[in-house]
């Protein structure tokens, strides 16, 4: 291959696995990252990564994993990418094992596994309770190897601003900003891969890292990239409230045997989803409500269900001290189990001053993950046009999108410990699709000058704004609004009102004045530069939610409490227009298994029947 160059924007698990793969194939890679890649948000993932090895002889298999993932996502996800991901999962783990990732071990020295939400199997391999950090470091080490060999170049502390395109619309580079001195720079390439993570920061007090604003996808959306299923936002049931953010208390606490409870009340009753009426425990004793409502999955029901039940209990006035917190209790666990979740126990202790080994933790739900993201293609192996299309490519030719910033793998609700898997899988898939794409394109440079001029102009305009509004205060209003109206329970009146208010904020944003106009590490300017595209994504999420008149996975409306496959088994597609996003729909690819209603109350181990699955499936890894 003639020396072709690609740009990877984002250095989390997805970006690094893609860069690693490309480096090993001799492709020259420029990585652009807001932070040192080793500090990316992937470090926050705690509990583990799923792979159906059947390590505990429970009859587990990759197809059961795929089925549970499809079912966990309430059948909204396209099925071919999930099937390939789950079949590839054991290979991915073995690769990470060879690369030295310090997974927890059995006595014999083999990989250990724990249970996670939405599954009845021990399928989650882990490194203590900082698995994301350890996986990221392992990939960072491999990428550093290619960096030392001269194949990878890093542009850290740089923000992606704009995609450069050629005359036929293909992605041919990016305009970036150096955060240290705000200078703009052009990086040209033959393909661009976005791996910029989620957008949790749009919601006030999420579990996400500071940089997870979604601005990069927002900018691309404004340049014509389609955005899919934006309305599906995962709220994590167990986090600890703080003044600056909500800190995640991993599902692994429950995977190792942690139990959720509130003080019981013999005088109250509650209805289960199948119509039974239960007494709300016994006054004066802990009431383990999830275990009673969902006898089979108990504390490990999927996150969307878990959160709604916690909210329901709290709305009945049964939260801790009548508030909106419940207890997550690990105080009964053995020393050996506590050791496996030591890092989250330490974190709880550091931030609250209380020892979870002795007292139950007080936890609260918070926005955690975006199932939606850039629309990307994923032709299945058996599709006749498989080799003329490119997996993980957006509607913009040459622009790929991977990791939390794509929409592919989780449908309406993500299962715990599937995010790390989907990030690495998508990264490796893109790592083999991109070289194939490079072979098909002509050497034509993009219009870098035009892109740079637009950004220079925008910079000047933003710095010259001299109004009374403070962008950080506008952000607080936006993010509070989204938490109030666009998280666990949504109503059409609330969503309509939210759209109006976002539009008002968009007007007020024109009237900001920057408290800092300096040229060095000016975070006020940098944040203001991101806020515009954040507002556009807020509209995408809210409008998608308003239109979707059903309840599916993380999207719940009391006025439409049931899933509606007849009208709503379809993928939401948002396209940019200055007057607000245009919403259209694409069909969901349910070619292997037919949608059924989710049920987590019974002990039926899934026996999936995948119709028409190719027998000679060649895995991408």
């Amino acid at each position: 291959m003639a020396q072709k160059k690609v740009i990877v924007v984002g250095g989390g698990l997805a970006g690094l696995s893609c860069a690693m793969k490309l480096g090993s194939l001799g492709v020259s890679v420029d990585i652009v990252s807001l932070t040192k890649v080793r500090r990316s948000h992937s470090v926050c993932a705690q509990g583990g990564i799923n792979a159906a090895f059947n390590m505990k002889d429970e009859g587990d298999s990759p197809l059961i994993h795929a089925y549970e993932t499809i079912k966990g996502g309430d059948f909204l996800a396209d099925q071919p990418p999930i099937v390939e991901m789950c079949l590839s999962a054991p290979r991915i783990i073995r690769l990470l094992d060879r690369m030295g990732c310090p997974f927890n071990r059995t006595v014999e020295g083999r990989l250990d596994a724990r249970r996670f939400g939405g599954s009845l199997y021990h399928r989650t391999v882990f490194c203590g309770s900082s698995t994301g950090q350890q996986l990221l470091y392992t990939l960072d080490e491999q990428v550093r190897r290619w960096e030392a060999a001269g194949l990878v170049k890093k542009h850290e502390n740089h923000d992606f601003l704009r995609l450069i395109r050629d005359s036929s619309g293909r992605a041919k580079g990016v305009v970036v900003m150096d955060l240290f001195n705000q200078s703009l720079q052009v990086l040209e390439a033959d393909a661009v891969i976005m791996a910029t993570g989620g957008l949790g920061v749009l919601f006030r007090m999420s579990t996400n890292s500071v940089i997870c604003t979604g601005a990069a996808n927002g900018r691309l959306f404004m340049q014509g990239m389609e955005y899919a299923n934006g309305e599906f936002i995962q709220v994590h049931p167990t986090t600890i409230p703080g003044e600056d953010k909500m800190r995640l208390m991993s599902e692994s606490a429950r995977g190792e045997g942690g139990r959720i409870w509130v003080p019981g009340d013999s005088l109250k009753t509650i209805q289960t989803h199948d119509g039974r009426v239960l007494q709300c425990g016994v006054t004066g004793e802990p009431w383990y409500f999830l275990e009673e409502l969902y006898p089979a999955y108990g504390n490990l029901v999927p996150r969307d269900i878990c959160v709604r039940e916690i909210m329901r209990i709290c709305e009945m006035g049964m939260g801790v001290e009548g508030g909106s917190e419940v207890y997550l209790d690990v105080s009964h666990l053995s020393q050996e189990k506590l050791k496996k979740i030591a890092s989250i126990i330490d974190m709880y202790e550091k931030f609250t001053g209380q020892d979870p080994r002795k007292v139950p933790m007080r936890i609260f739900p918070a926005v955690h993950y975006s199932m939606g993201g850039a629309w990307v293609d994923f032709p299945a192996q058996e599709d006749p046009d498989r080799w003329t299309r490119f997996r993980q490519m957006t509607n913009i030719p040459g622009l790929f999108n991977i990791g939390e910033s794509d929409y592919l793998y989780h449908g309406a609700n993500r299962l715990g410990a599937n995010s790390l898997l989907s990030c690495i899988f998508a990264g490796l898939v893109a790592g083999s699709e991109v070289p194939r794409y490079l072979d098909t394109i002509k050497a034509e440079r993009g219009n870098a000058k035009e892109a740079l001029d637009i950004e220079e102009k925008e910079k000047k305009e933003l710095l010259s704004r001299n109004g009374p509004e403070n962008v950080f205060k506008l952000y607080e209003e936006l993010s509070d609004l989204l938490v109030k109206n666009v998280t666990v329970t949504r109503s059409n009146s609330g969503l309509k009102e939210t759209i109006d208010q976002i539009l008002t904020l968009r007007e007020r944003f024109k009237n900001i004045g920057l408290a800092d106009r300096g040229p060095f590490y000016n975070q006020t300017y940098q944040f203001a530069r991101q806020f515009g595209p954040m507002l556009e994504l807020a509209l995408v999420i809210t409008k998608g939610a308003l239109f979707r008149n059903e309840s599916r996975g993380a999207h719940f409306k009391a006025e439409f409490p049931k899933r509606d496959d007849v009208n709503w088994l379809k993928t939401t597609i948002a396209t940019y227009s200055p007057d607000g996003p245009i919403i259209s729909y694409k069909p969901v690819d349910t070619r292997y298994v037919k949608p059924v209603l989710r049920d987590y109350s019974k002990h039926i181990k899934a026996i999936p029947d995948f119709e028409g699955l190719p027998e000679n499936l060649v895995l991408p890894i």
Partner: protein, 255 residues
């Protein structure tokens, strides 16, 4: 008192100064939430309009290593620096915040720690695998070994150890404790150990373990309790053995 004061050492290289900010005391507040307050209301204690303080942060859960700074003179992460326990401990409502001094200053509390990542390149801190194809599992690793590996692998390259180390300074090429921890980590994994002799050769230079003065500040400030002094002792032993081996011209030491 119902308020506290953040006294920030800020500015550009060569032009640093102290500026004070006053806040209401709130349960759960940390240094980060105070800095966020300044962004929304950039007024200093004297009531003058000022620019928001620049600082680096990301995860806010003490796993990313971004928000290192000197808080009351001690290198640590700002996210776990909760205001109330600090006031309780010092008995003072004034908390000083300053950038690290062992790295080039960018602005206010932001320093450039690129050198730490360059050091990881020098010690080849990776496992050299043949390919990224399906090749089966890695070597078996006992739970005891995994535990040691994990404790070393939690190093988040935050730089607290270098900041606290008297041997890391302008006049010394010493890499600091963090990369030595990584040399120890990669001496444990059977595949990585193949490169151990090469890493030890780096450790034999002035930048390596011989420049450690045994002050042991690194372990005292490490937010992740990485066993840095154990690593330094182990790597130190290996450099001595390598030196003896080099002296007598013996064949490569068997990994």
């Amino acid at each position: 008192m119902t308020t506290f004061i953040l006294k920030v050492f800020r500015g550009m290289p060569g032009k640093q100064y102290w500026e004070e900010f006053q806040f209401k005391r709130r349960f759960g507040a940390n240094v980060i939430s105070a800095l966020m307050e300044i962004q929304k209301n950039p007024i200093n204690r004297l009531g003058e309009a000022t620019t928001p303080v620049a600082w680096e942060s990301n995860c806010l859960e003490e796993v990313c290593g971004s928000c290192s700074m000197l808080i009351n003179g001690r290198p640590r992460q700002a996210c776990t620096a909760l205001i109330e326990p600090i006031i309780e401990k010092t008995g003072s409502e004034i908390i000083t915040v300053a950038p690290f001094t062992k790295f080039p200053l960018v602005r206010d509390l932001v320093v450039d720690r690129t050198v730490m990542f360059e050091n990881l390149k020098k010690v080849q801190a990776w496992v050299e695998v043949d390919s990224y194809h399906e090749e089966g599992y890695g070597p078996l690793i006992s739970p005891e070994k995994q535990e040691v590996m994990y404790s070393l692998a939690t190093c988040m390259t935050c730089g607290c150890c270098s900041e606290a180390c008297p041997q890391v300074n302008d006049h010394s090429p010493f890499m600091g404790p963090a990369p030595i921890g990584q040399v120890r980590l990669f001496s444990i994994h059977p595949t990585a150990r193949v490169k151990h002799a090469e890493r030890i050769q780096v450790m034999q230079t002035d930048a390596g373990v011989g420049s450690c003065g045994n002050a042991q500040n690194c372990v005292k400030v490490c937010p992740k309790n990485v066993p840095l002094t154990d690593a330094i002792a182990s790597v130190g032993r290996d450099t001595t053995l390598q030196a003896i081996h080099d002296l007598f011209g013996l064949p490569e030491r068997n990994p």
